[in-house]
């Protein structure tokens, strides 16, 4: 039950009390102000109750050493909130830029142990119980030996849920940029901007650029690295792996970005007319049937899908 103490206080009184607190935060009250403040406080029990609440607020704020608060809270909450939404899969940020469109497969990838075609996503359980998922257009070699478990990412993007190996062989993902050693983890790697983008969701990783000292990555972090350079540590983006359950999630995503993302999962050419590229789109879309997604677009946005053939599609104004 709510007590009288918890009952709401009239907004006008809260506002008056806030004004006094604001003045106090600005410095000592002068004699005249102090006199008026005391008068105000004594004028009504509700005034006093409102003031007590603000004193409670004051003690909350001083309940943390200010250098700690400073260190912890300094990071902009907007950014934190956005990251939280990403983690929820409410925003899609990855973008298609990391993936090169292959008009033809280089022989190394054609010969790879495991390869996913455009629009195809694969999941495999490896001999040690690790679960490996490949996003559209990816290729890996799987090189397990008595001394190590090595997965070579030749192209595209992988997600790895590492299993517990009875013989404690190290689990290593190798890319052109270097090696990533898993220490009991769930993480994804994709090739981007001449390096590897690593998103770590559980456990720990060691990133070993080919020509730079190794660094540790903690759960919830992501980091880009190349053979010689390391990017900044950033929060991991769980939405980046929505592809693993065959979905594409958009929340107020510009249509152009959405189409670029969708085209990763569809053979042929899929383009977006700049005239409609900034239309915002929200929804969860199945990657398994991109034709259906395109049809659905026409129902939710003022757009028309022009198909020259199934392999040459443009999304333009209705």
């Amino acid at each position: 039950m709510k007590t009288a103490q918890d009952a709401p206080i009239a907004p006008a009184i809260v506002e008056q009390a806030s004004h006094w607190l604001m003045l106090r935060w600005g410095g000592e009250l002068d004699d005249e102000q102090q006199r008026r403040f005391t008068e105000w406080q004594a004028a009504d029990l509700e005034h006093n109750r409102a003031w007590q609440r603000l004193e409670q607020l004051q003690s909350t704020l001083t309940g943390v050493p200010s250098d700690t608060a400073h260190a912890v809270l300094r990071e902009m909450p907007d950014a934190r909130r956005r990251q939280a939404l990403k983690l929820l899969g409410a925003l899609l940020v990855t973008g298609g830029s990391g993936f090169l469109a292959h008009s033809q497969l280089p022989w190394r990838e054609a010969m790879a142990d495991l390869r996913s075609g455009t629009g195809e996503r694969l999941q495999r359980t490896l001999p040690d119980g690790s679960r490996l998922s490949l996003n559209s257009g990816s290729a890996v070699d799987i090189l397990f030996s008595a001394s190590e478990r090595r997965i070579r990412l030749l192209d595209g993007e992988l997600l790895l849920d590492s299993g517990h190996d009875a013989t404690h062989r190290p689990l290593i993902v190798e890319t052109a940029a270097g090696e990533i050693q898993a220490l009991g983890t769930r993480f994804s790697v994709y090739q981007q901007g001449g390096g590897s983008q690593v998103e770590l969701f559980e456990g720990q990783l060691e990133l070993r650029p080919r020509h730079a000292p190794p660094v540790r990555l903690q759960a919830g972090q992501s980091r880009w690295f190349s053979a010689t350079r390391l990017g900044e540590v950033a929060p991991a983006n769980a939405n980046a792996i929505a592809w693993n359950d065959s979905r594409l999630i958009a929340e107020r995503m510009p249509l152009g970005q959405f189409i670029a993302e969708l085209s990763r999962h569809r053979p042929g050419v899929l383009r977006c007319d700049p005239a409609v590229a900034s239309l915002p789109l929200t929804g969860v879309f199945p990657l398994a049937d991109t034709d259906r997604v395109l049809t659905a677009l026409q129902q939710s946005l003022p757009v028309r899908v022009h198909s020259l053939t199934r392999y040459w599609v443009t999304v333009g104004p209705a």
Partner: protein, 172 residues
Amino acid sequence: MSSVLPPSSLHDDVHRLYNNHHGWLQGWLRRRLGDRERAADIAQDTFLRLLVTRRMPQHGEGRRFLAQIARNLIIDQWRRQRIEQAYLESLAALPEPETPSLETRAMVIETLMQIDAMLDGMPAKVREAFLLSQFEGLTYPQIAERLEVSVSSVQKYMLRAIAACYQVLYAE
């Protein structure tokens, strides 16, 4: 979208919602989080939250309402994790004897969560002014100079900051 109910019909309603939507909610969470156990935990917490807050969705709004609660729970968990991590990192910089007890840590984290929620309700400039005033000890004229605004603007920012704080501590 919701209404507060007396406890008696509340339990029936939660029960009905549970029967109708628990499976769906758990599946929805599992797809979002990719983690079966966490999905089950958050689905449970979502219904617990319904019981605690005594707020119920209107007819036909059940799933949307549950999803919203679950979403907030996940954001809270995530924020707590981030704050804990940042806090522990800031502690790591301290010499050994100054490390606070586990109990103190828990309390500090709780308080940081509250302050973080307050900051979340503030527009960027207001937040900046508030942080400078409360955690860097700057005066209003100093803040005004730093933000390139007038002192009276800083005062307005501070009023908005106080309102945001009040909202977190005493909403409803």
